[in-house]
Amino acid sequence: MTTLRAFTCDDLFRFNNINLDPLTETYGIPFYLQYLAHWPEYFIVAEAPGGELMGYIMGKAEGSVAREEWHGHVTALSVAPEFRRLGLAAKLMELLEEISEKKGGFFVDLFVRVSNQVAVNMYKQLGYSVYRTVLEYYSASSGEPDEDAYGKFVFSLKLNGTILMLRIPGLVCKTIIIFLAYETGSDSCRLMGFMYPPLDNFSYLRLYQL
């Protein structure tokens, strides 16, 4: 029993029960406004009949419009403690995937802390696979993902970082097997992972090849 609707600015005043969770980041106002201005349809909130906010998902379309290559990205997904174990997160993911597909997104990806095992397992159940591990995605001093980090984290991989997971609609989870292994060098680390089957035929995915 849930009301699903678009997230609005006023919800920021009411989302403490969701956000006072140690794994849920409270971003600066600009961050939320950017998502609301640019990708309002990817920002959905669930409300209980008593009016309490139960959880929300916040996402965006990423990639290049010019090359007609883009995908959906989940930036934040969080459910308040008393509304967990109801499948709400899965429902919200489903909605975002639906929107992303409708918009022509090729796949949906997300970052999740390696330590957040509950979330990692949930995403795996939803058909997501670990694609690669990334260093210090969450450690930017501002607490907000640093756009410049994109180039940076490729060269500074470390275990105990964050993992990038993705799901390609139409492909069964089992078919993507990802081997993650690391070779630590003096100033750079190399990801030895590869995918099976090789994803070279998906030109778009080359963007993410290391």
Partner: protein, 919 residues
């Protein structure tokens, strides 16, 4: 090039040097000048930066580099209006530039010049006929209508014009994007042309509405409701529920519409379709069947759905309100809730769900209902006389739900102290037992049994309110214990914060609050917990810091939102634009913002050495309490901001020239300053009266409801009376100043009397600060936070007294030196000293003595606090809790020590000021 890199890397000095080098070679390189100006701005030389920038701006540059650099500079100067001037000039010189016109549009958007935006949008469209430009112009009309003071003007001029502009595009078949249709819908909705809006959404244009989920359906539904087209409302809600029988909002619409149709005696047409949206339900039987079908369908769903079951309870409630239930055989709510518990009792939200419907249970059945639920939970007792405990997480969750329901239904409320304590013991036993299931929980996760601990604490809080002093200490002990097992539990932390503050101990609060990692918007939504108590408990440094955090957030709001309003134009998220503006306004008019601003300034005055002459959860809060609290906070804010304005008005009165008579001064305008002070004083009196009237209602907020303001203490300890008398004294001294010493016996006497009564009142205020801050009574600790708050008020009031004395000093000193000159000239020893000098000297001496006494008192408090041996109390507590009890008591003791130290330091500074005041 190079200097730009320096700027980007924050090396402003090098950037300035590089720019200077360039400028030596090329005197008129505009861009270099602007980059130098940016460097100057960033190194704090705002005036030079501005002058240099205006030099370039005056030449009306049209090169990209200069324009962009100036835009950056003006933004950093917080002068966005200058950017509009810049591009207005550029557009005049290069009238066909799409780029400059669009910069101009955005510059207007940043400052909210809606009319000019409308024109700029059209100008752009004329140069390059792209749809977005045209619709930017249309949106600017909507913004004019929103910001228009005159609603009539907005409905008869701006919106119809916007409508015609869109209609023109529709007729010419030029509508391209979804955003444009959204905008059209927005206009029609605002014009209350719901029928037309519905036609757009349902028509061909509506096909473009695809981005949002069910965008078309949601918009149609909104319009059906506005048009009272209940058949369509019903049919659409029904259809959407068939698709997703868990979406609550559509159940509500479905029920609303069914009962509307019944009341209207609506009957479906015999031959045609029921409605535009298909089949309509218009009788109770149909509604009942529909819900039963949803429940039957639920069993086929992959995941259990709560919606259909709760919808049934909702339907029963609505039928009851209409006075009909039994004949439809929906079932007994008690039984249905029991079944619901069976199905969903192991979900943490079961309690929240059932909470909404407990009013369907007759109070006489409460105990039976609870017992019925308890009976089906698999609990096992190790021995016959021991508590039966859950064997797994599911059973624990079910049991927790029952415990929460018991509290909600008031089962514990009627218990006596002994019974309540027994329940607390049982809950804590269950809590500790439940930790077993969470052994593998990460630090970031909550423990399954946390709620037991929370409930035990709430019961103890009830006991505390009933006068059981020891209970509050046990609350803290249990919460600290809970937090040690579940370090991420925000409920524990918030409760600890509230209770420590109530006990007058602020020190532990800082750490708890920072572990909540509250930031950004949370400075508004929970930050008030800090700012309410920090300074009033004498933690001045922490108070400054928390005010600063909050203010930084509020100040950045203005700049941040403008940026995203512009983005919303770019991305065509038109409906977000009014939303962003409303959000910005809501934050700007936050009561907390106004309070923090005022308190921060008062705090600055208090903490600074003012040298004269040199310068001038948990529980639900009822709507009623919410309203009362808002009223109280607003009244208190008015008193505080008037106090602030009065205090900061004092330096403007400073005696500078020697006036000969009062009329002259009235002419030269100094008198207007005292008029302001007198007017403010009247307003303060009025505000104080309203405050007193408000407090006559003797409102008791729930212990975890809104924290009461400091207003009650301000009145009852006498600081209010002292402070107003002090401001009246200012007025008298001013009169003496303008009148001169001759023929002023009456004024002098009045001032003398004020001095005397002020000393008495301040002494009374001090008496209200006396007593032990923490005492041991009947083996329990008792804190007296009100004494601490009174001390803080004393410091503030004595500070105001000193500032007023400084003013008095500045008035009397020239009089005295004049008299002494006269004395020397006439060589007479008979020039009598007017009595006001003696009065003032006596007064200042008394202030000094009083302040010294208070400092001594504080020293005494420090000694007592240090000597207080808290360990001896431990015999009362169970061994298990001992460790946490010690922590809690130690924290409170240390916090009081900290408060007293900061207050003492501040008073010592005040004492130094007094010593300088003796004429």
């Amino acid at each position: 090039g190079e200097h730009r890199d320096y700027l980007d890397n924050g090396n402003n000095k090098m950037a300035i040097q590089q720019a200077d080098k360039l400028l030596k070679k090329h005197k008129d390189l505009h861009c270099a000048k602007v980059l130098k100006a940016i460097g100057l701005q960033r190194t704090g030389k705002q005036d030079e930066a501005y002058a240099l920038a205006q030099e370039v701006a005056a030449l009306e540059p049209t090169d990209d580099n200069s324009l962009q650099a100036l835009t950056i500079l003006y933004r950093e100067m917080h002068r966005p209006e200058l950017v509009t001037k810049l591009y207005e000039a550029a557009v005049k010189k290069v009238p066909n530039s799409e780029e400059y016109h669009s910069h101009l549009f955005m510059a207007y958007a940043r400052v909210g010049e809606y009319k000019k935006m409308q024109q700029a949008g059209m100008a752009l469209y004329k140069i390059v006929p792209k749809n977005p430009y045209y619709f930017w112009s249309v949106m600017s009309l909507i913004m004019q209508s929103i910001s228009a003071q005159d609603e009539n003007l907005s409905k008869t001029m701006f919106l119809p014009l916007a409508e015609r502009m869109v209609e023109k595009m529709v007729k010419e078949d030029k509508i391209e994007a979804e955003a444009e249709v959204e905008l059209y819908y927005m206009i029609l909705e605002r014009l209350e042309k719901y029928k037309e809006a519905l036609d757009v959404v349902r028509g061909k244009l509506g096909e473009k509405l695809t981005s949002e989920l069910q965008s078309r359906e949601n918009k149609c539904m909104a319009m059906y409701k506005k048009l009272h087209r209940w058949p369509e409302c019903n049919a659409l809600a029904r259809r959407l529920l068939l698709k997703n029988s868990d979406d609550w909002q559509f159940y509500i619409t479905y029920f609303d519409s069914v009962f509307q149709l019944i009341d209207e005696s609506w009957t479906p047409p015999a031959e045609e379709e029921h409605s535009l949206e298909g089949e309509v339900h218009c009788s109770i039987e149909q509604a009942v069947n529909f819900i039963e079908e949803r429940i039957a369908g639920e069993s086929r769903s992959s995941r259990p759905l709560r919606g259909p079951f709760l919808a049934k309870l909702e339907l029963i409630r609505r039928l009851r309100h209409r006075g009909c239930n039994d004949e439809y055989k929906l079932g007994d709510p008690e039984e249905l809730m029991f079944q619901y518990f069976k199905k969903f009792g192991d979900k943490p939200c079961c309690f929240t769900d059932l909470k909404v419907f407990v009013d369907l249970l007759p109070p006489s059945q409460y105990t039976k209902f609870i017992q019925q639920l308890l009976d089906i939970i698999p609990l096992v007792a190790a021995a016959e006389d021991e508590v039966a405990l859950p064997g797994d997480i599911k059973a624990l969750q079910q049991h927790l739900c029952v415990v929460q329901l018991s509290r909600l239904l008031g089962i514990y409320h009627t218990m006596d102290k002994k019974q309540k304590l027994a329940v607390v013991r049982e809950l804590m036993l269950r809590y500790r037992h439940g930790l077993e299931f969470g052994k593998s929980c990460l630090k970031t996760e909550l423990q399954f049994s946390d709620y037991y601990c929370l409930l035990a604490v709430h019961l103890l809080l009830d006991l505390w309110l009933e006068g059981e002093e020891a209970a509050v200490w046990q609350c803290l002990t249990l919460l600290e214990e809970g937090l040690s097992h579940s370090p991420s539990n925000a409920q524990f932390k918030l409760l600890l914060i509230r209770i420590y503050c109530r006990l007058g101990a602020f020190e532990p609060v800082s750490e708890l609050y920072s572990s909540l990692d509250a930031k950004h918007i949370q400075h508004d939504t929970i930050g008030y917990l800090l700012t309410r108590y920090a300074s009033s408990l004498g933690h001045y440094a922490a108070a400054s810091q928390s005010c600063n955090f909050a203010l930084r957030f509020f100040h950045s709001n203005q700049k941040d939102t403008s940026e995203y309003i512009i983005q919303a134009y770019k991305y065509g998220a038109f409906e977000k634009i009014p939303e962003f503006i409303a959000f910005r306004n809501r934050l700007n008019s936050s009561l907390h913002f106004a309070q923090v601003r005022t308190e921060r300034m008062l705090l600055d005055l208090l903490l600074e050495n003012w040298e004269w002459a040199k310068r001038g959860l948990g529980e639900d809060i009822s709507e009623e309490h919410r309203k009362l609290s808002l009223e109280e906070e607003t009244l208190w804010l008015r008193i505080r901001s008037l106090t602030l304005r009065l205090v900061s008005g004092l330096p403007t009165l400073a005696h500078t020239i020697q006036p000969k008579n009062s009329e002259k001064t009235a002419e030269n305008g100094v008198s207007s300053k005292i008029d302001t002070i007198r007017a403010l004083l009247q307003q303060l009196e009025a505000a104080v009266d309203s405050g007193k009237k408000f407090l006559e209602q003797k409102i008791q907020y729930p212990v975890l409801g809104p924290p009461p303001t400091r207003m009650a203490g301000f009145f009852s300890n006498g600081s209010c009376q002292c402070q107003t008398s002090l401001f009246y004294l200012v007025s008298d001294i001013y009169e003496l100043d303008t009148n001169g010493l001759e023929d002023s016996a009456e004024i002098q006497e009045r001032i003398g009397n004020s001095f005397k009564s002020l000393v008495e009142r301040l002494t009374d205020l001090f008496n209200k600060c006396k007593g032990d801050l923490i005492e041991v009574r009947d083996g329990t600790l008792k804190t007296h936070p009100n004494l601490l708050e009174n001390l803080v008020f004393f410091v503030e009031t004595i500070s105001i007294a000193l500032w007023v004395s400084s003013y008095c000093d500045s008035v009397l000193r020239p009089f005295k030196s004049n008299l002494q000159k006269k004395k020397k000239k006439k060589k007479e020893s008979s020039v009598a000293m007017p009595p006001v000098f003696t009065h003032f000297l006596d007064y200042v001496t008394e202030l000094q003595t009083l302040t010294s006494n208070v400092i001594d008192h504080i020293k005494g408090l420090e000694i007592i606090l240090t000597a207080l041996k808290l360990e001896e109390l431990d015999s009362l507590c169970k061994h298990r809790e001992k460790k946490f009890t010690k922590t809690v008591q130690g924290k409170v003791q240390s916090s009081y020590h900290h408060s007293v130290q900061e207050i003492g330091e501040l008073l010592k500074k005040r004492l130094d000021t007094i010593k300088k005041l003796k004429i």
